[in-house]
């Protein structure tokens, strides 16, 4: 019974009704606040207000009474209504839109080395195709999209040890790319490095599993004559580097594992251990190192090797993996992907005795989620199954060798790679060399039967000298005399030996014309100060002067030049090399000032501090310069 005899509703019903009405009005007010931009809400608010305003109070109370009496029916109806409303609202939430064609495949991030990028792309593309071929639900739709990208060894190992997290200025997501799900490095040497770095930094072990997928030996690719079977690297390399210019190409040891193993080969001494620093300096400069920025790793090394002139010893050999070589030769025609087109290779590959072997591990990580791991499991199963074997053969991998997969005490790679890398880094510390070329009138004299002038021959020697310097070495070119027959002309300032810098020197020499006097002493004084100028990290400094006559027109004396040379040698370790040709001679006395000592060029160079004077006929200039640079890098 909800009403009294007077027909008035009881007080409790009135109160409950009032509360409900107030609540309705409250909601309506809230909606009105939002209504400006939302017509639906404005409609709802209008309905509430109309309801409250239009329905008489008595009937309103009756309605409330009815609601209270029938709540058992109304609540389920309300729930039903809410569900219906939810169904109406849910489609407004985002969700997959009916896409054209296939469902979105699972993303797998595959990190590899710069040298292996092309081969790894081929491998995983085959896997993607396989998943498309075996997709029962949607034939032709791959279930995996594998993104393959490369990083240098140092960058990859350092980032992986930190689980790809940023560390100070290092942000692998920016500098390298996505956090990998799997890693296909060249060798377990890299895996060992990751573990060592993590251990050293007391970080959690990032590696979940390692499985070798194949192997490939490091080989020498060459146009030179080599014994068959090839001897060990320690005997082979000195013979290859016997000439005066760069003879060997290899990937950069600081960024490539193949490059590091190659360095272990070309820096190995007779006992198989790294050679002396003096010898290493020279070998490093006889080897052209191709960094990752030079193109696509091993492929770029081989393109450059194949593109070198076939009739010279320059860049006649390269060190790469057998896999890279076979891939290069497998192109139709060989080297078809080289910039500028195919190149005649005309060489062979040999595997010297005891050469290192790359074991190509597949590395998985602890950070993969269960869903990601399931995709990785699928890839691994395929890789080690029949289809994967075909794919591995297609990218020229040999079968995996269990004896070459050990993390520690691996007999297939040198044990002292850290020592090799240290020796390499030390040996390629830059030199700072200034070439000063006499362009006085006498340099226009004909130097031999071919009609070349002394200057022509000296210019050739300068170009040849550029081949004795690495890309990190700083060098510049002056000629003397300068403007007005005095001082010097700077044809190329002292700068790091980029291709552009070398080109600039070559072009500047073309434009030089011999004329005027020989301000030799001024050139020695100014040049020695220039090479001795502060330059961080520079190892060896030298001024190389090529002249054919005695000093004329200097504002300074031989004695001042001599003192300056000794001063700069003592202060900065800068040395003076003079190549005397034509009428010049190392022994002949120079003009002496009144009452002064008669000095010779040999006296000027301060032989006791490392300088040297060489007599050379014009036809000997090139060989003399080569010998001079050997001494410079050896530090003799």
């Amino acid at each position: 019974m909800m009403s009294d005899s007077s027909g008035q509703p009881p007080a409790r019903t009135t109160i409950v009704s009032a509360v409900i009405l107030v609540a309705l009005l409250g909601v309506a007010t809230w909606i009105v606040e939002q209504a400006a931009e939302h017509p639906w809400r404005a409609l709802a608010a209008a309905l509430v207000i109309a309801f409250v305003t239009v329905v008489p109070r008595r009937q309103m109370v009756e309605i409330m009474k009815w609601v209270i009496e029938n709540w058992k029916r109304i609540v389920p109806a309300g729930i039903l209504l809410t569900l219906v409303a939810l169904l109406a609202v849910l489609p407004l939430r985002p969700g997959p839109v009916a896409a054209v064609g296939c469902a979105h495949p699972a993303e797998v991030r595959v990190l590899t080395s710069v040298d292996e990028l092309a081969a790894t792309r081929t491998l995983v593309r085959r896997y993607e195709r396989w998943t498309a071929d075996h997709n029962q639900d949607a034939p032709g739709c791959p279930t995996v999209h594998a993104f393959v990208y490369a990083a240098t060894t140092a960058a990859a190992t350092s980032a992986l040890a930190r689980a790809w997290r940023p560390d100070g200025a290092q942000r692998p997501l920016v500098s390298i790319g996505p956090r990998p799900d799997v890693w296909l490095p060249d060798s377990t040497v890299d895996v060992r490095e990751v573990r060592a770095l993590a251990r050293r930094a007391q970080l959690p072990e990032p590696i979940r599993a390692i499985n070798s997928i194949g192997s490939s030996p490091v080989v020498l690719v060459t146009r030179a004559q080599v014994p068959n079977p090839a001897p060990a690297w320690s005997r082979l390399v000195p013979a290859l580097l016997r000439g005066s210019g760069p003879a060997l190409l290899a990937p950069d040891p600081e960024t490539s594992t193949v490059g590091l193993l190659a360095a272990a080969a070309y820096l190995s001494g007779p006992d198989g251990k790294p050679t002396s620093l003096a010898e290493a300096r020279q070998r490093v400069r006889a080897t052209v190192v191709a960094g990752p920025d030079a193109g696509a790793g091993a492929g770029a090394v081989l393109c450059r090797w194949a593109g070198a002139p076939p009739d010279t010893s320059a860049l006649a050999s390269a060190i790469v993996s057998e896999q890279a070589w076979l891939r290069f030769m497998g192109m139709n025609p060989p080297g078809a992907e080289c910039p500028g087109g195919p190149v005649p290779s005309g060489g062979i590959s040999v595997a010297p005795a005891g050469t290192p072997v790359l074991d190509h591990p597949l590395v998985e990580f602890t950070w993969s989620t269960a869903a990601q791991q399931s995709v990785i499991d699928g890839f691994r199963r395929w890789l080690f199954g029949g289809n994967g074997r075909d794919a591995r053969e297609a990218v020229h991998l040999r079968d995996a060798r269990p004896d070459c997969s050990a993390l520690e005490l691996n007999p297939c790679v040198p044990a002292d790679l850290d020592v090799t890398l240290d020796r390499y880094v030390e040996a390629q510390r830059p030199g700072r060399v200034l070439l000063a070329l006499d362009t006085s009138g006498s340099m226009a004299n004909v130097a031999g039967p071919a009609g070349l002038t002394r200057f022509d021959v000296a210019a050739r020697a300068v170009v040849q000298a550029l081949g004795q310097m690495g890309p990190r070495d700083e060098f510049g070119l002056w000629t003397f005399p300068g403007a007005g027959g005095k001082g010097q002309r700077q044809l190329a300032r002292i700068a790091a030996g980029s291709e552009g810098h070398r080109r600039q020197i070559g072009e500047a020499l073309h434009g030089a014309r011999p004329a005027g006097g020989t301000p030799l002493y001024d050139t020695i004084v100014t040049g020695m100060r220039a090479v001795a100028a502060p330059a961080p990290g520079v190892d060896r400094r030298a001024l190389l002067v090529m002249t054919d006559g005695k000093d004329t027109g200097s504002g300074t004396s031989a004695e001042v030049a001599r003192r300056t040379v000794r001063d700069m040698a003592g202060r900065a370790g800068a040395v003076l090399f003079v190549v005397a040709t034509g009428e010049a001679s190392c022994r002949d006395p120079l003009d002496a000032p009144p009452g002064g000592a008669r000095l010779s060029l040999r006296d000027l160079v301060a032989a006791d501090l490392g300088g040297e004077c060489f007599d050379a006929r014009p036809d000997q200039l090139t060989a003399t310069v080569a010998e001079l640079f050997k001494r410079l890098w050896r530090g003799e």
């Binding site: 209504l81 054209v100 064609g101 920016v174 087109g341």
Partner: protein, 429 residues
């Protein structure tokens, strides 16, 4: 007393409407912003002076309860894409806003990685072409953050008469004119390395030859004489002939934007295709005029490509699994506002997506190429729109690579059309 049925019906109707409206309100962004950090997953900030970060700093000053953070990825589009997709698929991306390349909006929308913006978003003032890239399936999924169009850079000291060739790659007559008395390795450098740059450059060169790859109806039409001519012309241009350097630098086959900028700066080439951001990089060259170095800033100019450019740029979208959709939307609206766009373009060199920016005097002073860029954007064409763009571009790059091998000399692989058609639909055979 019996309650009139009409009143009961009226009451139930009111209650039903209230429930629907209340639930809609919960799903809409009109209530206060959700507190907490907003994470924006984006490619590295290549703008001059880190202007994106400065905008974020400004937002953070104004919204201390909703601080935003840029989580930066590689500046290479392919690498960004892989990380973004992997995060989105993980279901716990930790991302609130994606800064998507214009080609990925379709994919992310179709896969349910992002949520649509409702009809209350004001899109007035945006350039039409960039805004179109934000739509899919009749809905708006993002707002344009910055746009992009390729431009032709030319060395004024190497181009005779200051007039660049009317065709890219340069013709033999152009090369004769360019190479006379100069030491240059080639006429033109682009970005033909194995990444998205190859897709962009190849599309533009095919378009320049009046060909196309995918028509507006989604059909692969690369097998046309015009498209074939475009590829054959490119392959031929990388070979030196007639005693002249090649029209296209062969090393471009491995080049990214940075490499071609370096070749252009060094004088190895007289012409370069690049994005507008290269303008700022060349003007800000640290080495210029130092110690006798060459001052590139005084020796180049920029103009539109002879043909249409690919439309580039990035769009900001709300992650599906964000717990802060209202805050994310507010941040997106801030970053794409007039004032933000002005700052990004004027100070950072990132091409703006709003009309008004290009008319702004301070912008025109700082970016004298603004009119050229605006025209290039308005003439630009989008890359094929498909939810499977990642596969499509990979297959297209394979096709182009095969066509550019010396033995193919620009000839298309026989199965190019079927491979590309499959890829458009996500299929791989």
């Amino acid at each position: 007393m019996a309650v009139p049925r009409i009143l009961v019906g009226f009451a139930l109707g009111v209650v039903a409407v209230l429930i629907v409206v209340s639930l809609r309100a919960l799903a809409s962004p009109q209530t206060p912003l959700e507190p907490g950090e907003i994470v924006v997953l984006t490619g590295a900030d290549d703008s001059v002076g880190g202007q994106r970060q400065r905008l974020i700093d400004q937002w953070n000053d104004d919204h201390p309860d909703n601080p935003a953070r840029l989580e930066s990825l590689s500046s290479e589009a392919d690498r960004q894409h892989s990380e973004m997709v992997a995060r989105a698929q993980s279901g716990a991306s930790g991302v609130d806003v994606y800064n998507l390349d214009v080609t990925w909006v379709t994919e992310f929308a179709a896969a349910g990685f992002i949520q649509p913006l409702d009809g209350s978003v004001n899109t007035a003032g945006f350039l039409a072409k960039p805004l179109e890239t934000c739509g899919y399936d009749g809905k708006l999924w993002a707002l344009p953050f910055n746009t992009d169009a390729g431009l032709l850079y030319y060395r004024t000291d190497l181009v005779p008469g200051g007039a660049p060739p009317a065709q890219i790659p340069p013709t033999e007559a152009d090369m004769r004119r360019l190479a006379t008395g100069r030491q240059m390795k080639a006429g033109y450098a682009g970005q033909l390395g194995d990444y998205e740059g190859l897709t962009v450059n190849a599309l533009e060169l095919i378009w320049a030859a009046q060909g196309d790859v995918v028509d507006p109806d989604g059909r692969v039409v690369i097998d046309s004489p015009e498209a074939r001519a475009g590829l054959e012309r490119l392959a031929g241009a990388m070979v030196a002939s007639g005693g002249l350097p090649p029209a296209v630098l062969p090393e471009s086959r491995t080049y990214t934007e940075r490499d071609s900028t370096e070749a252009f700066r060094s004088g190895a080439v007289a012409l370069m295709r690049n994005w507008p951001v290269a303008y700022g990089q060349l003007m800000d060259d640290q080495e210029r005029a130092g110690a006798g170095g060459f001052d590139i800033a005084k020796n180049f100019a920029v103009t539109q490509l002879p043909g249409p450019s690919v439309l580039g740029g990035q769009n900001l979208a709300i992650a599906r699994d964000t717990t802060k959709p209202r805050a994310a939307r507010a941040l997106i609206e801030f970053l794409t506002s007039d004032s933000s766009q002005r700052r990004l373009f004027r100070d950072g060199g990132l091409p703006a997506t709003r009309h008004t920016t290009y008319a702004d005097a301070s912008v025109r002073e700082a970016r004298p190429y603004a009119d050229i860029l605006l025209a290039a954007v308005e003439d630009a064409r989008p890359r094929p729109r498909t939810p499977h763009y990642a596969l499509f571009t990979a297959v297209f790059q394979e096709v182009v690579r095969e066509a550019l091998t010396p033995s193919a000399r620009g000839r298309l692989p026989a199965d190019a059309v079927s491979r590309l058609t499959d890829a458009l639909n996500g299929r791989l055979r």
